[in-house]
């Protein structure tokens, strides 16, 4: 992956596939460290599955038996001396509070740090593909924060789909303006 924003898109797609109604993408950046958290309320994974998703030869896909999503994210953070952790609770284990929490930390000043790239485009791609799911995106840096909560947009839009072109363009500008204000 050329940008971490693509890893984010990839891992968040797994959250949607796990039946999450809300997927949170939370980025926290200091001068030295970038933390990416992807938190969903999907069906969760058992301990055995959590252990094996970091293995590239594990996947739930039936077309072929390799899955590279989490291994690629793990590689991207570990090559900066960062780390990846996954906590997950299955629906069976806790019917009222289940889901998966992926945390990846990166040392931004490490020579092998992959640039974050355009996270806004990844958020837009998620909305385009899954207009009925909710996403909460936060990116904290430089003492400020960029935020997008599709639940708030849905309140305004009612039955107008979130992936309508005009709505997507509004979201794109909304995020861009917030990033410009952050500097």
């Amino acid at each position: 992956m050329k940008e971490l924003s693509l890893n984010i898109l990839d891992v968040a797609e797994n959250s949607v596939k796990a039946g999450a109604s809300l997927t949170q993408i939370l980025l926290t950046e200091t001068d030295d460290v970038l933390t990416i958290e992807i938190v969903d309320d999907g069906c969760g994974m058992s301990e055995d599955v959590v252990r094996s998703v970091v293995d590239p030869f594990y996947t739930t896909r039936t077309t072929r038996s390799v899955g590279m999503g989490i291994p690629l994210l793990k590689l991207a953070c570990e090559q900066t001396d960062g780390s990846l952790s996954i906590h997950s609770t299955t629906t069976e284990a806790d019917p009222s509070d289940h889901g998966t929490h992926v945390t990846a930390t990166f040392n931004k000043n490490h020579i092998d740090f992959t640039p974050l790239g355009d996270v806004s485009e990844s958020i837009l791609t998620l909305i385009q593909g899954h207009p009925d799911k909710d996403f909460l995106f936060k990116h904290a840096k430089n003492g400020g924060e960029v935020e997008l909560d599709t639940r708030k947009l849905r309140e305004v839009l009612e039955d107008v789909p979130l992936n309508s072109y005009d709505v997507m363009e509004w979201v794109r500008s909304y995020l861009r303006e917030q990033y410009e204000a952050l500097g």
Binding site: L124, Q128, W170, E177
Partner: protein, 123 residues
């Protein structure tokens, strides 16, 4: 600054259109958006289709959607075009520029762009 009031205005404008559109789409463009597709550049390809379809005013006839891995990872980004009553066309190794061409020649003009189809391009 973009405001929710502006979003409200978009909603009011779109409300009637949504009812009209239901069931009118005849063409479906499907972009593979699994790990393999994303790594190969599917995100800007999807974006090019969404933008292009809108720019050409085709949004009532064409829907752009995403899918998982189609099983042709070495050919990603893969895009499938489904048209009512016609055979599916699979485009491979797509780029935003090629997406533009497919919209122009195939989706608007009805001519399949053979040079980008799975039978023509080699891995």
């Amino acid at each position: 600054m973009k405001s929710l009031a502006e979003l409200q205005a978009i909603k009011n404008r779109m409300k009637d259109k949504v009812v009209l559109r239901d069931g009118m789409e005849s063409t479906r463009v499907v972009v593979g958006m699994a790990t393999c597709g994303i790594a190969a550049g599917a995100r800007p390809v999807l974006n090019a289709f969404v933008e292009g379809v809108n720019k050409e005013g085709l949004e009532d006839k064409v829907t752009v959607t995403q899918t998982g891995c189609i099983g042709l990872c070495q050919f990603e980004p893969v895009v499938e075009v489904f048209e009512a009553g016609k055979e599916k066309v699979t485009y491979v190794k797509m780029t935003p520029e090629r997406a533009q061409e497919v919209i122009e020649k195939h989706i608007k003009g009805g001519q399949v762009v053979n040079e980008y189809t799975v039978g023509t391009v080699t891995a």
